[in-house]
């Protein structure tokens, strides 16, 4: 006998960052959109390239893939991993689902712990994109540096775009929900101060 367990992931907006996080956490992708597999291969080519020429070519391939992702601009509805299925829920979160035996919760605990690790790694990668650019700028070989900077910038821009798209969607959904429930809505976007980067919605109903 077995039962199904579920765990929600942290908010995730970028396919690029998600793919990197899955890879870094050692998840084996069983079924996912082809672009995720292409991305993983392109990143491997970058790290395995032995000559400057090969590395530059690998970065160019990676940049092309990033641009393709930017055009399609959507997270996969589901990703099947080894023992866990991620299904997109609530626009920007995945629900991880798996099956466990009634006799032991060891597998469930291990899988949930890996999902927690995935959440943390996703956040770390997103937060580290800025420092990756600084590192890229200090690369020694000028041609390689140029290619590396282009790749890191493409990744950064793609991530920022995913956040912008997510925020537009959040605004749209909150506005529709507020209207449906008879609330008025005010939106404040903070670009400076202690709340820089955050958005505040104040919804008010007179009763």
């Amino acid at each position: 006998m077995s039962y199904r367990w579920r765990q929600e992931t942290a908010p995730m907006t970028s396919l690029l960052v998600l793919q990197r996080a899955l890879d870094q956490c050692g998840f084996q992708i069983i079924e996912a959109p082809a672009i995720m597999k292409h991305l993983a291969l392109a990143r491997k080519r970058v790290s395995h390239a032995s000559t400057t020429h090969d590395k530059i070519a690998a970065y160019e391939e990676l940049i092309d893939l990033i641009r393709q992702i930017d055009q399609t601009d959507s997270l996969p509805k589901s990703i099947k991993l080894d023992g866990v299925k991620l299904s997109l829920s609530n626009s920007f979160c995945y629900v991880a689902e798996g099956y466990s035996s009634n006799e032991s919760t060891v597998a469930e605990m291990a899988a949930k712990s890996k999902i927690t690790e995935l959440n943390n790694v996703y956040k770390e990668i997103a937060a580290g994109l800025e420092s990756e650019l600084t590192q890229a700028m200090s690369s020694l070989e000028s041609q390689l540096r140029e290619a590396l900077i282009k790749a890191v910038k493409a990744e950064q821009e793609s991530y920022k775009k995913s956040i912008t798209v997510a925020r537009q969607e959040i605004f749209k959904i909150i506005r529709e929900n507020a209207k449906k429930e008879g609330y008025s809505l005010k939106r404040h976007v903070f670009t400076a101060g202690k709340n820089a980067g955050r958005e505040q919605y104040v919804v008010v109903k007179r009763v």
Binding site: A10, P11, N90, I174, E181, R198, Y201, V204, K205
Partner: protein
């Protein structure tokens, strides 16, 4: 005479897309129900902290603000 009051929810969207919410002038479970409706399709409220006013069941006559914060998505 009817007293007009305002039900107010503050929804904060953090940089990573997680939400922090705070409700004012709404007592008891109603604030969570209302927030669930406002966040439908976006988030499930998975953790919340009840303030003292949450337990205030009086419909009127209290000047104290109700401030029930909801957290989700691993935000703190």
């Amino acid at each position: 005479m009817y007293k007009v009051t305002k039900e107010v929810h503050e929804i904060w969207v953090n940089e990573d897309g997680s939400f922090d919410c705070e409700s004012h002038s709404i007592k008891g479970e109603k604030c969570i129900e209302e927030l669930r409706k406002l966040l439908e399709g976006l988030a499930e409220i998975d953790d919340f902290e009840k303030k003292r006013e949450f337990y205030d069941t009086q419909e009127q006559g209290s000047k104290a603000k109700s401030e029930n914060r909801q957290y989700r998505g691993g935000s703190s």
